[in-house]
């Protein structure tokens, strides 16, 4: 236990994920421009309006879309040339926008295929943490409610026992009470020592969960600032995110 705590301290000084000068194209359209971002063990949120390139950035980090230029370093290793499965094996977990649970797998099967024996997170622990999933373990993925699907998507990622979890809009479309549950859950994950990148449109949820905020505008990271600063500065909020988001 003491060993673990020292390593956390050690890592806290190091960055987990380093993105430098990342470019991404979809065919002829240039989606990401020279993105630079460094993620340490402090939870970070990427905020931005719709269409600013947040999901594209997630997919580039996961390797689901190949970037055209730039570097992605993860735990000191360049992963830019790796296929997604190797990035996952290296300790990167992804909770995608829209959850993307498998519609023809039961809850239990979702967890079973990812579970590795002897790891810190296993099926038992998931069911302890989310009794609701235990109740629904025989249900197919597409028979779950939005909140349950989100629980499942996050559990699935946790079973990989990752070093970093990338969550793409986990609160989208959820009822306010469920949003609070998700925020609590993210806070718990952070306490586990897992690095968190939270991509959000919902600023209030994001600000509750993270320490640092990166702002994306037009396919670029334009600013990185402590969450308190953004929380207290409504002008800044308006400037970067627009009223619609702030009132959300």
């Amino acid at each position: 236990m003491s060993g673990a705590s020292t390593s956390v301290v050690e890592m806290a000084t190091d960055s987990v994920l380093d993105i430098t000068n990342l470019d991404l194209h979809y065919g002829s359209s240039h989606v990401l421009h020279q993105v630079n971002l460094s993620v340490s063990h402090k939870p970070l949120s990427i905020l931005g309006r719709n269409g600013m390139g947040k999901t594209s950035l997630c997919q580039a980090i996961m390797g689901l879309h190949r970037h055209s230029a730039g570097n992605i370093r993860f735990c000191g290793r360049e992963i830019g040339a790796m296929p997604p499965e190797q990035r996952a094996q290296a300790g990167l977990a992804y909770v995608p926008q829209g959850r993307r649970v498998f519609r023809s797998l039961t809850v239990d099967e979702h967890l079973q295929i990812v579970e590795r024996s002897g790891a810190a997170w296993n099926r038992e622990r998931v069911y302890d943490t989310f009794p609701r999933l235990a109740e629904r373990r025989r249900n197919l993925g597409d028979r779950l409610s939005g909140g349950e699907q989100q629980m499942l998507a996050i559990s699935r990622a946790l079973l990989l026992n990752p070093r970093l979890i990338l969550l793409d809009e986990p609160t989208e479309g959820l009822a306010p009470t469920i949003v609070d549950d998700v925020v609590t859950l993210i806070t718990n994950i952070v306490e586990e020592g897992i690095a968190v990148v939270l991509v959000e449109q919902n600023m209030h949820a994001a600000l509750q969960a993270v320490d640092e905020v990166a702002i994306m505008v037009g396919g670029q990271v334009v600013d990185v600032l402590p969450s308190e600063q953004l929380a207290s500065d409504s002008e800044l909020q308006n400037h970067y995110l627009g009223l619609d988001l702030v009132n959300n």
């Binding site: 996961m62 390797g63 689901l64 296929p83 997604p84 499965e85 190797q86 990035r87 996952a88 094996q89 992804y94 995608p96 993307r100 498998f102 519609r103 023809s104 797998l105 099967e109 979702h110 079973q112 295929i113 990812v114 993925g141 699935r156 990989l160």
Partner: protein, 288 residues
Amino acid sequence: MRLFLIVTLNGLTLAALYFLAASGFSLIFGLMRTVNMAHGALLLLGGYVGYDVVELTGSWMLGIACGGLAAALAGAAVQAGILGWMQGDELRQTLASIAISIVLADLMLWYWGGITYQVSLPDILSGGQKLPLLGVGYANIRLALMAFAVVVGVMLWFLIQRTRFGAVIRAGVDDQDMLRALGFPIGRIFIAVFALGSALAGMAGVIAASALSISPGTDLQFLLSSLVVVIVGGMGSIGGAALGALLVGLAEQYGLAYAPTYGVVFTFGIMVLILAVRPQGLMGRSEQ
């Protein structure tokens, strides 16, 4: 009436063979969206190898196993060496697999010649017996065919619905990218599934060579019937393949018995009709 029952029975046994041939095709399409036009060639390859092994060892079961193995190896090589490199580009894969089937068919013609082969059956399966109600002789192998189809169907169902590997395959069918993002090397899974689908084709080839016969041209016949079976039933669904095989097998036999002139046209007519009404096949899920 007696004829109708016999023709129905014939349709069922033919359906069993079609199901065996088409199940691998359906499996491959279901996971990878690959329309493997070399499926018939792999089936024929399995049949030839099975024949050679049965001649050599006298063991029919060994023949089936080796036929399946040969086709599995060839299929894995095709996926790993060629089709895997163009994953996601369905049209190119279709064309590449056509090219592969042309080459394979020609090489098999070279090696095995153009004559017709029939695998000799073990004693228990050869010959026929009098059917109790209908009062006619019926080939044992055809009755056994139905048993094979049921066994293979149940095994496939078990594999896909009840095992971890099956769950991974289903997850891949649902969302390949997500599966990769969970750390699954999709390339290797694809090769494994392709080998499995090809093994089913190869075994079906040996069984076809036992119940009917194989010769150059058998590859195209079974490719076409597999296409119809799988499309009518719904691509990627094992239940759909079974349903499609039933429809096609029965249609073909009723056609042959009652409307020989246009029997074959009916089979494809049924396919057009079903696809016009349900573009994704009877049990297929619509795209997205």
